[in-house]
Amino acid sequence: MSATTAYQRLSLEGERKSALDVARNRLMVAVLLFFAAFAVMVVRTIELGLSTPETKQVAERQIVIPPVKVARADILDRNGEVLATNLETSSLYANPSKVKNPAEVAARLVEVLPDLSLSEVEEKLSSERKFVWLKRKLSPREKWQVNALGVPALQFQREEERVYPHGRLAAHALGYVDVDGNGLGGVEYFFNDRLNDANRTDEPIRLALDIRVQYALTDELEAAMSAHRAIGAAGVVMDVNTGEVIALASLPDYDPNDIRGVANQQRFNRATQGVYELGSTFKTFTFAAALDQGIATLEDGYDATKPLHVARFTIRDDHPKARFMSLPEIFAYSSNIGTAQMALDLGAEKQQNFLRELGFLDPTNIELAEVGSPIYPATWRKSSTMTISYGHGIAVSPIQLVNGIAAMVNGGRLIPATLTHNDDNWRQGQQVISQNTSRKIRQLLRLAVTKGTGGRSEAVGYRVGGKTGTAEKAVAGGYDRKALISSFVGVFPMDDPQYVVFALLDEPRGTKETFGYRSGGWVAAPVVKNVILRSAPLLGVAPKREDEGLYQQVALMIEE
């Protein structure tokens, strides 16, 4: 019994002991685990204490609005009106390998997109390729219709389209882009890299153009062009004090939104690319050179009784007075004979230097690739001096003429013409004639309107000054008497010149209203007048009663 109990006790003790051991072992495991965990925490705490604090926040305090991404920057006018912008559109492509029945799909597709050719689409869809363009830049309506066909192989690619909301307006200044958005003409071409610069697509380019004035100019030119059945027209409005081009028109024009099938003749920019012999408007420069260099004064005069003969030319007057004329009379009545004699007194060299200084012998520096090179005689003969004095024998672009006229009236500062909105542009100007000469030129220009050939440009209240220009078109071996370039350059208001307005008509024909006349004073001057009447209130030029005293002295020298 005792042995049994002893054994039992023994075994009980042995069991108890082993249970305690197990418990202790387990406890040790737990303790070690805790130690390990604490050790990790200690290490982590030390690490956090030593490392630099992280700036990451749980919630971002700065709210990020995803920017509107466009592939090409916008173009605005001087008032912030959109002239060119990129809008989202879709292009249709297909995966021909997924098309089971090309003929049927093609037939249904052509039904909704009638401008696609059936055979072409069918051929594209039957090809083995994985990707074919079917049509670029669909309208939202077309996209919806294609989706409604329910053909899974037809898919859309998001693309951007260049849109010109004003259509034809200012087309020649703006230019146009190809299907991939690269500029091909106008400022679109000139500033192509800047417009496509990925970092600056949210900064629009601001042009100097004012779209309202642009329309006034285009509309008036269109009206005159159809009234006189001219083959073309050009016009420029420029701020004389900054050289900014407020409006630039060339007709016939085109719609930059759709340049397919546009003839070269429409793309041709007559205002900057075309060079023309501009006729009597050039007398302004001959007078300025002669007055500025002291060759002649306003009190002088020249004999214009009979035509001049030089080499094989005969110089006649279009408005002959056949008498001795004072300088203001020569200008107002646009006497070629008088001007030619004055140019002889001035001399070929001085004349050439003056014209070079005004930039008439080099292409203009405006922000367009479409600029024409002036044409002038390689050897400057006596006859050249005489004809160039009244604008024959030298061909310049209208923008150059306008730029030169601006310098003549703004106090003698030649400021390079610019298409971009730039208030500081005047700083680049340089003095070409004295303030005093500029004042005299202003008087002469005003009197050419009140008393001379430019009477039909008189916009009541806006004190317009200007000069007519009529030139026969040069053809092979001489001049074509039937084809004229009729132009008028006007400046307003003459007591404080602000803007130059130029209008040119290419081969105008006379009408009943003009009694068959088609010279600058008859066809182009009214255009300038209407443009001034329409745009002066927009440009902030107030109508005012004229101070006659400004012109009285010179006016007395003009006899009817």
Binding site: L83, E88, L533
Partner: protein, 130 residues
């Protein structure tokens, strides 16, 4: 006493836990709202681009002129119609009178006389205009 503290601690722990959870959910909701708002602003900006282009298209001077000719009897202004001097505007109240807005009420007896006076000055001024 000890039990009270334990219960208090437990209740506080539960309450603060619930509050933190609540806050977290609220913040999440706000963050989502902000995200949605930012997205909305982005879409609106894109829409504004389209609308600006459309506005330019619809208000291009050519179409405005066509509409003006069709619906309005307006003619281009002549120089005489442009008032450059603000004092030339007829019936323009001066000085202290400017503050009183007569509105749509019938004119009081004093006013016709005043109008006459303005008329006269206006006529005088017309002599000076263009």
């Amino acid at each position: 006493m000890r039990r009270m503290i334990t219960i208090c601690a437990a209740v506080t722990a539960l309450a603060s836990g619930a509050a933190v959870l609540q806050l977290k959910l609220a913040v999440q909701e706000k963050a989502e709202a902000v995200e949605a708002l930012a997205q909305q602003i982005h879409q609106d900006r894109e829409a504004i681009r389209v609308l600006e282009a459309e506005w330019a298209f619809l208000t291009t001077p050519r179409s405005l002129q066509e509409k003006s000719i069709r619906f309005l009897a307006l003619m281009p202004p002549s120089a005489e119609q442009v008032v450059t001097d603000i004092t030339r505007i007829p019936f323009r109240p001066k000085g202290i009178e400017a503050g009183e807005d007569p509105g749509v009420l019938l004119p009081t007896k004093a006013q016709p006389e005043e109008n006459k006076k303005h008329d006269k000055t206006d006529k005088d001024r017309k002599g000076q205009s263009l």
